[in-house]
């Protein structure tokens, strides 16, 4: 079964305990709405069509083949059919399954009229094997009933059963059994539930049974069978087991498996004569001990592992698997049947240590039903006696840590609270009857309901658990029609969320395609990128159990992910790419809870061409200033462009990468990714990028928008042509100009060149400055004073002069 959380139940098996007349699909739907999700319904009946009841009228020898016969068969089609048959057991008067012309056998084989060694054959007489309802391929199938020839045999041959694959959640181990599922069906359809027959056993066995620690094994019961005759099981037992997906072995093993599937209680049978001493001790294994389990693998044990021992050595891994030395074999004469309850965490530990998930461990780690260990033994003993597999000893042995643990538990429920949670108006009496359908005894007293919870529903511990059961039986669909959510809580907006959405919407409108990449990163990425050793991006957080090596650390930057996207899209996006991602990065925290610093970033990358190919413009390669223009426009949108300073990064590996700093904190990084880095990502063209740390945006920049009056007075324009030394940066010149003036409205650089007749070490900048006052029309003399101030400040601070 594995850990998938399913239980395959046979419809025929369920019908042993509860009447089911419903069509199987309806049953599956009803169960799903009752909380037992039926994931699949499988029809076990053989899948054939056109197979009819036929009566053999005559049999003659085939003229050209000794081992073939020419048969005349009445298949209800008026004229008898002529069929060539190779079976030795064909004889007149026999009722047989006949595949007529057009019939389809299981597996899809289609029957046609044909000639066999020169003789016409108008169909086929089938064997069990051909119909896939048995193993017998020797002769044709002899039907043991009479029918009108020509009657279809669909649904008349082989097993007719359905398997329901039910999803079982960890809180409902009781559903890992046919009885458990039948109990739900009984509750669903309000029908009585039948109990399996048992052979009552009495206490008082003198067998030497001891449990070292009752916490490890709260209950251990054992029964004994003598005069055992190992042999095959009866057909009905084999059929039910096969249907439920269990392979029949021998009568004793099959009976223990049957009880497991029926009641959900795992049993284990030991060959009593192979125990070195007639003793069972449930204890922790000792260091150095080992055990060869039924699968033939020798397991090394220690104090962490709970075992069943025979006084000398471990003979089974408690709740997981038995040992091969003591298993039931051909000559077994006496057996000990174990039915116990083990601490779930110990079973889970052993399962994980040995990677051994069995039907038993699956149930034990979900805390089985401590109340039914004895009933399970009694049920097995009944079957052993009925099927003649042995003679059960009337006394059982038991170790029970807490006698109170096998009794019913009382849980109280307040009717008012139940109605409050569900939004219903049920009475206490109605709640009692709803719970009663689930075999939960309940009594009402005013607003209170007292419920006796049997051991098979250990998941019902407190009031809310019972309310869920009431809601489920009452029907979720009957709840909520008249209820309404009241407007007691009003939404508050998250300014950060709005800002972040707008950043994304803005970049999308600036023709960037948004991408979403993995939070994981390859530990090789920092190496490939060549971030400096002191760069925190070089020390990513490692995943203890990664899916693959390439996804074994958390990303410290969005940029490697962007390169991955560019690389993967390169074959189809030949012209150019503009992409961005908004997401978290994870950096090691210096202190605190141990959780990393999760930083919110938005990063963009541009590659190849700046514009699409078109008739009206020359196509141009994307460059650094495309990137910078986008970043500056974004910063402007975010209201921080005036506070930002641009600095070089200290990383020699990345010569054309710069950082943008606001109030001493790095806000963004951007530039050209070096060719040797893009090359490592399989990208041949240059890639320009910027990476903005959203968390570093100053909160003050988030101020509300406001209006300031526009000036009605005329604009005065002046062009200024300046010459600067090569150590002077444009940004410094612009800063001085902006700082020096009073009436400057806008400043644009519209010409820049270097070299030529200026000389190698000089640069020329031409600005257009626009001046305007809010107070009145500017006179030429006002603007002249502004220009004089600019020139004198520039000259003093930066040795920048007017070009002549």
């Amino acid at each position: 079964m594995g850990g998938g959380g399913g239980m395959k139940v046979s419809l025929n098996w369920l019908k042993r305990y509860v009447e089911i007349d419903e069509d199987v699909d309806l049953l599956a739907d009803d169960l799903s709405m009752f909380g037992l999700n039926v994931e699949e319904v499988t029809n076990l009946a053989p899948d054939f069509s056109g197979i009819v009841f036929g009566k053999v009228l005559e049999v003659q020898r085939h003229p050209k083949a000794d081992r073939l016969s020419l048969c005349t068969v009445d298949a209800g089609s008026g004229e008898p059919l002529r069929i060539v048959c190779g079976a030795a057991n064909v004889r007149p008067g026999l009722g047989v399954p006949v595949a007529v012309h057009g019939a389809v056998l299981p597996g899809g084989f289609k029957i046609k009229r044909t000639k066999i060694r020169g003789e016409v054959s108008e169909g086929m007489i089938c064997s069990e094997k051909e119909l896939m309802i048995g193993e017998d391929a020797e002769g044709i199938m002899e039907l043991d009933f009479e029918e009108t020839p020509g009657t279809s045999l669909e649904g008349r041959l082989g097993t007719s059963d359905y398997i329901l694959d039910i999803e079982v959640t960890p809180n409902r181990p009781d559903l890992l059994s046919h009885i458990g599922v039948a109990r739900e069906i009984a509750a669903l359809y309000r029908r009585p539930l039948g109990e399996p027959e048992r052979l009552e056993l009495a206490a008082g066995s003198t067998f030497d049974l001891s449990v070292e620690d009752g916490a490890d094994c709260p209950r251990y019961t054992a029964a004994f069978v003598e005069d055992v005759t190992i042999g095959p099981s009866s057909e009905w037992l084999k059929n039910l087991l096969t249907a439920a997906g269990v392979k029949p072995v021998n009568n004793i093993v099959d009976i223990t498996n049957f009880v497991l599937m029926e009641m959900g209680q795992p049993l284990h049978a030991f060959d009593l004569d192979t125990l070195r001493r007639e003793t069972i001790v449930v204890r922790r294994a000792r260091k150095g001990e080992d055990l060869r389990t039924l699968d033939g693998i020798t397991r090394e044990l220690d104090r962490e592992i709970l075992v069943i021992a025979d006084g000398e050595r471990p003979v089974a891994l408690a709740g997981v698997m038995g040992g091969s030395d003591t298993e039931i074999r051909e000559g077994t004469r006496r057996i000990l049947l174990e039915s116990a309850m083990f601490e779930p965490r110990l079973v889970r530990r052993a399962k994980e240590r040995f990677r051994l998930e069995t039907e038993a461990s699956y149930r034990f780690e979900r805390e089985g039903d401590i109340g039914i260990t004895l009933q399970a033994l009694e049920r097995a003993c009944f079957l052993i006696r009925e099927l003649g597999a042995g003679r059960p000893v009337p006394q059982y042995a038991e170790s029970l840590a807490d006698p109170g643990s096998i009794g019913e538990r009382t849980v109280a429920l307040r009717t008012k609270q139940a109605n409050r949670v569900m939004g219903t108006h049920l009475t206490s009496g109605e709640i009692v009857s709803l719970l009663g359908r689930l075999a939960l005894g309940a009594t009402a007293s005013g607003n209170n309901v007292t419920v006796s919870v049997p051991t098979f529903r250990r998941d019902l511990r407190e009031e809310i658990d019972l309310i869920e059961e009431v809601a489920r039986v009452y029907g979720y669909d009957n709840i909520g029609r008249e209820s309404s959510s009241r407007g007691t809580v009003f939404a508050t907006v998250s300014p950060a969320d709005i800002r972040n959405e707008r950043i994304c919407a803005y970049l999308a409108s600036r023709s960037f395609a948004e991408v979403v990449t993995s939070s994981f990163m390859d530990p090789e990425d920092p190496v490939k990128f060549g971030w400096g050793e002191t760069d925190p991006r070089c020390r990513p957080i490692e995943i203890a159990n990664p899916l693959t090596a390439a996804q074994s650390v958390l990303r410290t930057s969005l940029v490697p992910g962007l390169l991955g996207v560019i690389q993967r899209n390169s074959p189809t996006e030949q012209e150019g790419m503009r992409i961005f991602e908004y997401g978290k990065t994870f950096l090691r925290a210096q202190s605190g809870s141990g959780l990393p610093n999760e930083e919110l970033h938005v990063a963009a990358a541009l590659a190849r061409k700046a514009d699409p190919l078109q008739w009206i413009e020359q196509q141009r390669r994307v460059d650094y200033f495309d990137m910078k223009g986008e970043l500056e426009a974004l910063l402007d949108r975010l209201g921080v462009s005036t506070d930002v300073r641009m600095l070089p990064t200290e990383n020699d590996n990345h010569p054309f990468v710069y950082k943008w700093v606001v109030k001493g904190r790095q806000l963004a990084e951007g530039g050209r990714i070096p060719r040797h880095v893009t090359g490592r990502y399989g990208i041949e063209t240059p890639v320009y990028y910027f990476d903005l740390l959203i968390d570093a945006l100053p909160v003050s920049a988030r101020g509300e928008l406001g209006y300031s009056r526009t000036s009605p007075y005329p604009l005065v324009k002046r062009d200024l042509c300046l010459v600067a030394g090569e150590r002077v940066a444009f940004a410094d010149i612009q800063n001085v100009i902006v700082r020096s003036t009073k009436y400057l409205e806008s400043i644009r650089l519209f010409d820049y060149y270097t070299g030529g007749h200026l000389g190698e070490s000089k640069r020329s900048y031409t600005f257009r400055l626009s001046f305007r006052s809010k107070e009145g029309t500017l006179a030429d003399s006002d603007v002249d004073r502004e220009i004089e101030k600019i020139l004198s400040d520039l000259n003093r601070e930066l040795q920048v002069t007017l070009r002549r």
Binding site: R348, I464, S485, R486, R510, F586, S593
Partner: protein, 353 residues
């Protein structure tokens, strides 16, 4: 000049003529002629200004002001018109003979479908009165499991394969820890949604991803009921998938809420009769939901007798796949631009005519 008295309507009359003449001047030379006509040394405005001196002293300032304003406006107009003419001269792009030639174009961009869906979902819940709550992707075991009623060493933890950083720290497998953190800091009533990325240690296949987006909701107040949950969830599903969607609650066990349910909606492909989308069932599983377990309230320090609440959670990729017919969850993080572009077109499906 004679001692004539200036007609007070004259500045306005001159301005009117000047505006017309400047606007109609279609060459730089023509414009220069107009400038001389009005503002030259013997121009009309210049003459007019000169004559102000002959007016009575008390009238001079007001009249001077009027004429100066006219002069300034004419100057501005001349400058503007000169720029216009100059730029026309510079470009001189002949009008192309074929007006059906394609217009100038640039690259196109747009949002990722996941963020688009996430935003649409958030908006629906904001409209219902839910506020946003967010938390870390890397989370303490305590918030992801223990405080949510997943005991240590319990098989219910097997339901979610977890990525661990160490024994106590993991990648969240659900966004529920955000709710616990929020409840620690706030008192009811509260009504929040917590969208975000979650992680499962599962090998990816068409319907499973090791990282995906989830959104959970939580509403806690004195009398919040299962009925309220049904109403909110139904409203969301109808808003997102269409008003004719039918919703059903199917009982199901989750450790966190109780009573709990899986929520199905009628298949929008076949309206319930069975098709490929719903696997012939007629119903599609959309989310898990239920009433907040009293244990969770106790962990948060709320009195479970004073408050009730509900919670629900859904996978964003899943609802995006259903709504847009996307066949493989891995496409979201593959970022094939040919895939992403398909969702840039603005859609107004559902707009009532």
């Amino acid at each position: 000049m004679s001692d004539e008295i200036i007609d007070r309507s004259r500045p306005g009359e001159i301005e009117k003529r000047a505006v017309k003449a400047i606007t109609e001047a279609d060459t730089v030379d023509a414009l220069e002629e107009e400038r001389i006509r009005y503002l030259g040394r013997k121009g009309e405005i210049t003459e007019l200004l000169r004559s102000v001196g002959r007016m009575p002293v008390e009238e001079r300032p007001a009249l001077g002001n009027i004429i100066n304003n006219v002069k300034r406006r004419i100057e501005e107009l001349l400058e503007t018109r000169l720029e216009q003419l100059a730029s026309e001269v510079q470009e001189e792009v002949p009008f192309p003979g074929d007006p059906t030639l394609p217009g100038r174009s640039g690259w196109q961009g747009g949002p990722h479908i996941l963020h688009k869906v996430l935003r649409d979902v958030k908006r629906i819940f904001f409209g219902m009165g839910y506020s946003l709550a967010e938390g870390p992707d890397v989370e303490l075991d305590y918030y992801n499991f223990e405080a949510l009623n997943f005991p240590p060493d319990h098989p219910s933890r097997d339901l979610q394969d977890t990525f661990y950083i160490n024994r106590d720290i993991l990648l969240r497998t659900q966004t529920s820890p955000v709710q616990v953190r929020y409840m620690e800091k706030h008192e009811p009533p509260l009504r929040i949604i917590s969208p975000g990325r979650v992680y499962r240690n599962e090998s990816p296949d068409p319907s499973h991803a090791s990282e995906f987006y989830q959104m959970e909701g939580l509403y806690v107040d004195t009398d919040v009921s299962l009925g309220d949950l049904r109403n909110d969830v139904t409203f969301f599903i109808r808003s997102f998938f269409g008003m004719d969607a039918k919703v059903r609650f199917r009982p199901h066990f989750f450790p966190f809420p109780e009573p709990s349910a899986e929520v199905d909606m009628s298949c929008f492909g076949c309206k319930g009769s069975g098709c490929q989308i719903c696997g012939k069932a007629g119903w599609i599983e959309i989310m898990g939901a239920g009433m907040v377990h009293p244990h969770v309230f106790r962990y948060a320090g709320y009195d479970p007798d004073a408050y009730t609440g509900f919670a629900f959670g859904m996978g964003i990729e899943r609802i995006a796949m259903l709504k847009y017919g996307i066949d493989d969850i891995r496409r979201f993080l593959a970022n094939d631009l040919r895939f992403l572009r398909q969702f840039w077109t603005e859609s107004w499906a559902g707009v009532v005519e």
